[in-house]
């Protein structure tokens, strides 16, 4: 792993730029302070992002920008600091892959001409801190750690996300939910920027140390938080946020909020931004979950390869935990799958979920028939093709749940990128698009027969419609 010392910038630049913030102590007015902070952000932008060959801002500056995002109430400052941090991270990544320069001279293996080398910027500033939880130590390092969040604070932040919907519906909408959502989006962005290159480096070299030192892993192994709680919080945040987006028809011109309140204007600004920010936050929570799932699978690879040690501990894979949660709490089942926009993951999870309820005998019969496709979507669909097995599944999970899961799985299936779906199509019989469509229709016909009283849900009808049209176009 290569390391690179960040060129410390010139001290003059830091001193000059930080001085903009210092003047605030001369004046008590909040507007003055806000104005100075805005000028500070603008100065960082013009000093470090505009020149083509500028070095990165110093840690002190990063800290000051992050502090603004964390505590400010003015929408202007929140938005500017958020955007500035994102742009800075894009321009000056803390961790990145570079093509190793010595690959030509040494050339150990001509088959792999270019190996990526992981470069980690030394002593870079991160919005996370993982100091030991001894308070005296924290006090000493307070200046160094600054406003960084520890794992506990991150967990609390995710917990707060689930409350956003309630807060937003109350009339005194203030900047806190918005700020928390943007803060969270930024933190996920940081985690991603750190995790993705490390995971790539890991898949090339199988060296676990890259991932052991990743921020995400450090959060997950932190003893300050319960890993299970983190996953649960993520799930409830996804459900609440997506539910909010679905329900919200926040028409700002409704008579009660349209009245000329003092805060009316500020309120409108928040309300206009809210749906969009909620959507992006929901995507960010999913991104976090997906990274955890990827980390799990890399860890499994490292475990099998004997690369991990006892220090790394044992963790239940996130997918299993999520499936457990979905089994216990049926209320989040539909919102979760509706919000999840990663088709591959969604399909796999639904198939795994349904497999729990498919009678073992039918699976075994299939196996004895010599086909190994029972654990695929096509295999699961076939279990709904005869009355008896459908009846026994519906007894355990309701007709509604069965319909919704099949429809969701079908949607995930048709959303798979073509290389995946051809993989599905070619390798395993019974998984081609026309077959899947046909089996969808017969599964729904079967479900309808089993439960005559309840009609098919709208979402199921839409899935059927799609299946029917796709079938007619495929032939």
């Amino acid at each position: 792993m290569g390391t690179k010392r960040r060129r410390g910038g010139d001290g003059g630049m830091e001193e000059n730029t930080m001085a903009i913030l210092d003047t605030s102590c001369f004046s008590k007015s909040t507007q003055h302070i806000a104005d100075d902070r805005l000028s500070f952000l603008e100065a960082v932008r013009s000093g470090f992002l505009v020149p083509e060959n500028a070095s990165a801002p110093t840690n002190k500056m990063y800290k000051a920008i992050f502090q603004i995002l964390k505590v400010e109430n003015s929408l202007d400052l929140i938005m500017s600091s958020y955007q500035l941090l994102l742009e800075l991270d894009k321009r000056f990544p803390q961790v990145y892959l570079s093509v190793a320069e010595n690959s030509e001279s040494s050339s150990p293996s001509p088959s792999s001409p270019q190996r990526n080398e992981l470069v980690v910027v030394e002593e870079a500033w991160f919005p996370f801190s993982f100091g030991p939880d001894v308070s005296s130590c924290e006090k000493q390092d307070l200046d160094k750690v600054g406003g960084s969040l520890d794992a506990t604070a991150f967990l609390l932040l995710i917990e707060d996300l689930a409350k956003v919907a309630d807060e937003a519906n109350s009339k005194t909408l203030d900047s806190k939910p918005l700020r928390n959502m943007l803060l969270f989006q930024y933190l996920v962005n940081v985690l991603e920027g750190d995790f993705v290159p490390r995971n790539l480096a890991f898949t090339e070299s199988l060296d676990w140390i890259y991932l052991r030192e990743s921020l995400l892993n450090m959060i997950l192994v932190s003893r300050k938080i319960a890993y299970k709680g983190l996953i649960q919080n993520c799930l409830s945040a996804i459900c609440e946020l997506s539910q909010f987006s679905m329900d919200c028809s926040h028409d700002m011109r409704s008579p009660e909020t349209g009245s000329a309140e003092v805060t009316g204007k500020r309120h409108t600004a928040f309300a206009i931004a809210l749906p969009e920010i909620v959507k992006c936050t929901c995507v960010a929570v999913q991104k976090l979950l997906l990274m955890i799932i990827e980390l799990d699978s890399s860890k499994k690879t490292a475990d099998m390869d004997g690369r991990t040690t006892r220090v790394d501990g044992v963790r239940t894979p996130a997918i299993e935990m999520i499936l457990d949660e979905l089994t216990y709490d049926k209320n989040i089942l539909f919102p979760f799958f509706q919000a999840l926009d990663k088709p591959r993951l969604k399909l796999d999870m639904i198939v795994q979920y349904l497999l729990k309820y498919i009678p073992k005998t039918s699976v075994r019969t299939r196996r004895s028939n010599g086909s190994t496709n029972d654990s695929t979507f096509g295999g699961v669909l076939k279990c709904f093709s005869n009355g008896n097995s459908t009846k026994s599944i519906v007894k355990k999970i309701s007709t509604e749940v069965a319909e919704l899961l099949l429809a969701q799985a079908f949607q995930a299936y048709i959303s798979l990128p073509s290389q995946h779906s051809t993989e599905y199509k070619e390798d395993i019989a019974g998984n081609s698009l026309p077959e899947i469509c046909n089996n969808m229709i017969s599964a729904f016909t079967c479900l309808k027969k089993t439960d005559e009283h309840t009609g098919i849900l709208p979402f199921g009808k839409e899935a059927l419609f799609t299946a029917a049209i796709m079938l007619s176009r495929s032939s």
């Binding site: 004046s27 349209g258 000329a260 048709i414 098919i456 009808k461 839409e462």
Partner: protein, 461 residues
């Protein structure tokens, strides 16, 4: 008056109090007057207190005195706070324009063409309909479900064609629906079909109907966008339009912004607006960035502006950039908003840096009569006497920031030593000619900004 903290001999106080003098009452009592009065009273009170203390030493318990002192100091503090607030208010002006006026009612639209849409048409004949029971009456509801749950996009991708009824219906929902679910689903649908990556489906997605620029502009007019009138300051506009029910920013503007961004990214495959129309759209986006109500959308607005600017080829941009800058300078009022018009431009790449510099220069020109030349502008700046009491330091501050932006984002300026020299002179004037004890508003801001910039220019050389 019963609650008056100084009410120990109220009759006497009332009789002598200058506040109740009838001739003073008529004019608006300013805080200054109040403070003067207050100090007069305070003096009187202390005099009286000392007299009282001399005559009635035995009566005057410490508690009473402490209470009075505390009340008095509280009163003084309150006054002081109000004074500073007042002086701050005219010290820092806040940018912000009202870009939306009264909204019009959206054009009516009936999804009547449904039976002619090929998806509907081809489905009705299928046997499966016995399960779904789709009819012409329930059709629109059903299609809304298809849209919001993402099925419609999969279907049109599979069929390789977007029918006109579907295209117009989703376009209308996107720009005019009051339901967030529908408009956001519709905008996702449109962005997806415009920017469809053709890796998956080798076939080209045929869109039977595309909106034109006039439709986009029409939507803005429906939202009440003040396109042709010069923009008003939000504080004034609020008073004029304050009681109108349907004023304020429309929720659909988010969808509009995203759609414009997608259209400009899709230039190579779909023609929706021309370069001159794209120029107008850049100006519109900059205007939207001047409205504080849309602050929370700045991520989307910035993305949209970048997409629009990348829409132009290098050749087109050199002339378009100047046109955009002139048009922006004409619309933006010459106050704090002119700084925002420059600050809001995310200068991340070549084209947009160019725009930021050009807008700063054009606005700067607007502050001077009959000046067209860059050297002449700077010369005018250096001629300003900052020590003159009538010199408006707020304007000086604006000149300073505008010139900074004009220079910083235009690489060609580096090769003009004369301009740089005069800019240095101006900066030195600003940082040296304003005394640290200068109490004029913006004095300290101008001084510190100039010394900050001066530091930067000397560092480089």
């Amino acid at each position: 008056m019963e609650e008056d903290p100084f009410d120990f001999e109220s009759d006497v106080l009332l009789a002598t109090s200058p506040i109740v003098a009838p001739n003073q009452r008529r004019k608006v009592i300013g805080l200054d007057d109040l403070l003067v009065d207050h100090y007069k009273e305070k003096n009187r009170v202390t005099e009286r207190e000392s007299k009282l203390a001399k005559t009635k030493k035995t009566y005057n318990s410490d508690d009473e005195e402490d209470g009075r002192v505390a009340k008095l100091s509280k009163y003084v503090d309150e006054c002081h706070e109000k004074m500073t607030q007042l002086s701050d208010e005219d010290d820092v002006s806040i940018w912000g324009l009202q870009v939306f006026g009264n909204q019009k009612s959206p054009p009516s639209f009936v999804f009547s063409d449904l039976p002619s849409c090929s998806l509907f048409h081809s489905f009705m004949g299928l046997e499966v309909n016995s399960l779904i029971e789709l009819s012409t009456e329930s059709g629109e509801m059903f299609f809304e479900g298809l849209l919001t749950n993402g099925w419609l996009l999969k279907l049109v991708c599979k069929c390789g064609e977007v029918d006109k009824p579907i295209a117009t219906w989703t376009f209308h929902l996107m720009l005019y629906s009051s339901k967030e679910v529908l408009r956001s689903a519709a905008v996702n649908f449109w962005c997806a079909i415009l920017l469809l990556k053709n890796e998956d489906e080798p076939r080209f997605l045929k869109i039977d109907w595309l909106p034109s620029y006039s439709e986009l502009k029409g939507a803005l007019e429906t939202y009440g966008f003040l396109l042709h009138s010069p923009l008003e300051d939000s504080s004034d506009a609020e008073m004029v339009l304050g009681d109108s029910e349907c004023m304020g920013s429309p929720q659909n503007i988010v969808a509009w912004i995203k759609f414009v961004a997608a259209c400009s990214q899709a230039r190579n495959t779909h023609f929706i607006f021309s370069t001159s129309e794209a120029e107008e759209l850049v100006v519109v986006i900059i205007c939207l960035l001047l409205d504080r109500q849309l602050l929370g959308l700045s991520v989307d607005l910035n993305e949209c502006m970048l997409s629009l600017i990348n829409f132009f080829t290098d050749d087109e941009w050199s002339s378009s950039c100047a046109k955009v800058a002139k048009s922006v300078a004409l619309r933006v009022p010459l106050d704090i908003n002119s700084l925002r018009a420059v600050d809001c431009i995310p200068a991340v790449c070549g084209h947009i840096k160019h725009l930021r510099s050009a807008i700063a220069f054009q606005i700067l020109l607007g502050y001077f009569d009959k000046v067209e030349d860059d050297e002449e502008v700077i010369r005018q700046l250096t001629l300003i006497n900052l020590k003159d009491k009538s010199c408006d330091l707020f304007k000086i501050y604006i000149y300073l920031v505008l010139t900074e932006n004009w220079f910083l984002y235009n690489p060609a300026i580096k090769d003009k030593p004369l301009l740089n020299e005069m800019w240095g002179l101006y900066l030195r004037n600003c940082s040296c000619q304003i005394n640290i004890t200068d109490t004029r508003s913006y004095a300290s801001k101008v001084r510190s900004k100039a010394s900050y910039l001066l530091q930067g220019t000397t560092d480089k050389s």
